[in-house]
């Protein structure tokens, strides 16, 4: 019985009068029943605040909020039937791990036996069975975070809210947890809003991603769409790591095809009908090519194991290129770059807004 979540024109300001800080500026999001919405955005953009408002922990300054079709503004958190993982864990310091996990169930009058079973299930899933008798102060950071997760996962709520639940886990565990969350979501179909800073999590977990900046929703779309067709340079730069390369330049038209000219080089690409544009190219779509005419100097070579990122200084700025792990290039070398031409992101130069006309218009 998945519930929908409708956020309508939510505004939130902290403080009063002159000192007021507007943290959310008219957020509208509709989350379908059973959806897994990822919420991303730079630090301090208002993600946690939005979750708090959904949970009923903060009152919005303005706006409406419907859960399962019911207006919940003013309804106390306990009645909203929401499970939440706090960014700051917020573990009960006086309770053991088991009690922390079981508390919400107890509040819902789940019989002791069922509760214990559930606690053990969840603890097993999170690999913290051996810690059940400890208190939060005796746990490591990652262990605390898993307890915080366990507290939410033990329940069967209308809505899950996760605020960076895996940030303190190692990569391996994070992959496992991610898979676990995905599996659980498949099984239960509970509507979920999930804040993360992890690109992989964002791309793989969610059915849609909402990108926020400074309290304003920038884009909300499927991961694939967001990655491939970011609606502005902000989203384009925010999603994907290393970040997308931006090349400001001019379009020089000649009949049907055009040419993109920029300081230090030019590219033969299907171009939009706008003069001043910015071309966005992700690191994996730029290739090193010894004899390419567009050249620059290598300033940084970062092997990450699976790949090596090469940062090249050009007239239009630093370009990051993903190269194979065994690339032999070195700092100080001169490198040429080519662009495949099939993954062009065109943005209006001044507004940064995506030029939609070019979507689906790929070179052969």
């Amino acid at each position: 019985m998945a519930s929908s979540l409708h956020i309508k024109g939510i505004r939130k300001a902290f403080g009063k009068g002159d000192k007021a800080v507007e943290v959310l500026k008219r957020i509208d999001i509709d989350v379908e029943p059973g959806e897994f919405l990822i919420l991303v955005g730079p630090s301090g953009c208002g993600k946690s605040t939005l979750l708090n408002i959904i949970a009923g922990l903060e009152e919005p300054t303005e706006g409406e909020l419907h859960i399962a079709g019911k207006n919940v503004i003013g309804m106390p958190p306990a009645q909203r039937d929401i499970a939440m993982v706090f960014q700051s864990y917020a573990l009960y310091p006086t309770m053991t791990v088991a009690d922390n996990i079981g508390f919400a169930l107890e509040m819902r009058k789940v019989p002791k036996a069922d509760r214990d079973k559930r606690i053990h299930e969840v603890a097993g899933m999170l690999q913290i069975q051996h810690l059940l008798d400890r208190r939060p102060a005796q746990l490591s950071g990652g262990q605390r975070q898993r307890v915080a997760m366990g507290r939410a996962l033990a329940r069967d709520p209308q809505l899950f809210l996760f605020d960076e639940p895996l940030s303190n886990l190692d990569a391996k565990l994070r992959v496992e947890m991610r898979a676990e969350i995905k599996r659980l979501h498949h099984l239960s179909g509970i509507t979920t809003v999930y804040v993360t800073h992890d690109q992989i999590e964002a791309m793989t977990l969610g059915s849609r991603i909402a990108v926020m900046k400074d309290g304003i929703l920038q884009q909300i779309d499927t991961p694939d769409e967001i990655y491939r067709r970011p609606s502005n340079t902000y989203v384009a730069g925010f999603i994907g790591s290393p970040t997308m390369n931006f090349i400001p330049g001019q379009v020089e038209r000649s009949g049907d095809s055009g040419k993109f000219v920029f300081e230090g080089g030019s590219l033969d690409l299907p171009c939009p009908d706008v003069q001043q544009v910015t071309l966005g190219q992700r690191p994996e779509h730029i290739h090193l090519s010894d004899d390419a005419p567009w050249r620059g100097q290598v300033v940084l070579v970062e092997p990450t194991g699976a790949d090596t990122y090469v940062v090249i200084k050009t007239a239009v700025g630093l370009m990051t290129v993903r190269a194979p792990a065994n690339t032999k290039i070195q700092v100080g070398d001169t490198a040429g770059m080519t662009v495949s031409g099939r993954h062009n992101n065109w943005f209006d130069h001044s507004s940064g807004v995506r030029l939609k006309e070019m979507d689906g218009h790929h070179a052969p």
């Binding site: 922990l57 499970a83 939440m84 706090f86 917020a90 009960y92 310091p93 006086t94 508390f103 509040m107």
Partner: protein, 286 residues
């Protein structure tokens, strides 16, 4: 905190603590040795000298048979009056203060801070002012000269103070904990009972100590609002200590004083053990 076992700092720490302990213990020492001396010894000896023998007569006398007025049952009956008065009054006023403090720190509402300010200012009202109107109120309620009346008075008089203790302690408890509990489905009372109260051990102990001491040692209300059958121990003690025949029985007075103070001291010893528990460390980041 780490420190080398025998650093200069440690010596200073222990030195200061020891000197302070002596200062605090001196009157007790005097009282204790005096209570075991007999009259002649008190007169001849010096303040600090040890008694020649441990003479428990004064203690027996103080407990069972010392006279105040025509009544020669020692402190015993007063003692039990005090117990019946102090225990409920302490528990009620502490619980009341805890709940008030909880509301005033975690469920703030418009005007709650002002309300708190008003309550606090009430702490400063001299109790003497209360005596006569309070008698009248107790008379109306039919509680005058009864233990129940004393309990009521002590609860009212102590409420502002206990509220202050809890409220100020709770302001340091991270809000996130309450938020988490609200999400977990706990309501107002459950959050209090399960989350907040378990974290309150140190301040609970302080408040219990405070209230128990105040109520147990109160004389003014005890003398003004009690009847012949409900006089608390301080009144008994006062009668005894101010009751004098030619040779002032310092030894009995001191024994009586120690007896009167025993329950409070016991509470301190017991309460003190819980000081270390209930730490909030590691609760949240930031």
């Amino acid at each position: 905190m780490t420190a080398k076992p025998f650093s200069f700092g440690r010596v200073v720490v222990y030195g200061v603590l020891l000197v302070a302990a002596l200062f605090f213990l001196a009157p007790m020492y005097v009282m204790l040795v005096t209570s075991f001396k007999d009259a002649a010894e008190i007169r001849s000896g010096n303040l600090l000298s040890l008694p020649q023998s441990l003479n428990p007569d004064a203690w027996h006398l103080a407990w069972n048979s010392a006279c105040t007025g025509v009544d020669c049952r020692g402190l015993q009956p007063y003692f039990w009056n005090s117990v019946f008065m102090a225990v409920p009054a302490v528990l009620i006023s502490t619980a009341w203060g805890a709940v008030n403090g909880y509301v005033l720190s975690m469920w703030k509402f418009r005007g709650s801070e002002v309300l708190f300010g008003f309550l606090l200012f009430g702490v400063f009202m001299p109790f003497q002012v209360v005596l006569l109107p309070m008698s009248q109120v107790l008379g109306y309620l039919g509680l005058s000269s009864s233990i129940a009346g004393l309990v009521l008075v002590h609860c009212l008089a102590g409420m502002a103070g206990t509220t202050l203790f809890f409220r100020n302690y709770y302001t340091a408890v991270p809000r996130e904990l309450v938020n988490a509990a609200r999400i977990d489905g706990a309501g107002f009372w459950r959050i209090f009972w399960r989350i907040v109260l378990p974290m309150s051990t140190p301040i609970m102990m302080v408040t219990l100590i405070w209230q128990f001491t105040n109520i147990w040692n109160d004389f003014l209300f005890g003398v003004a609002f009690s009847g012949a059958d409900s006089k608390p121990i301080t009144v008994g003690l006062n009668n005894m200590a101010n009751t004098t025949s030619s040779v002032k029985n310092y030894n009995v007075d001191m024994a009586a004083a120690i007896i009167a103070g025993l329950p409070t001291m016991l509470v301190y010893v017991l309460a003190g053990q819980y000081f270390l528990k209930g730490l909030t460390a590691g609760a949240v980041k930031g």
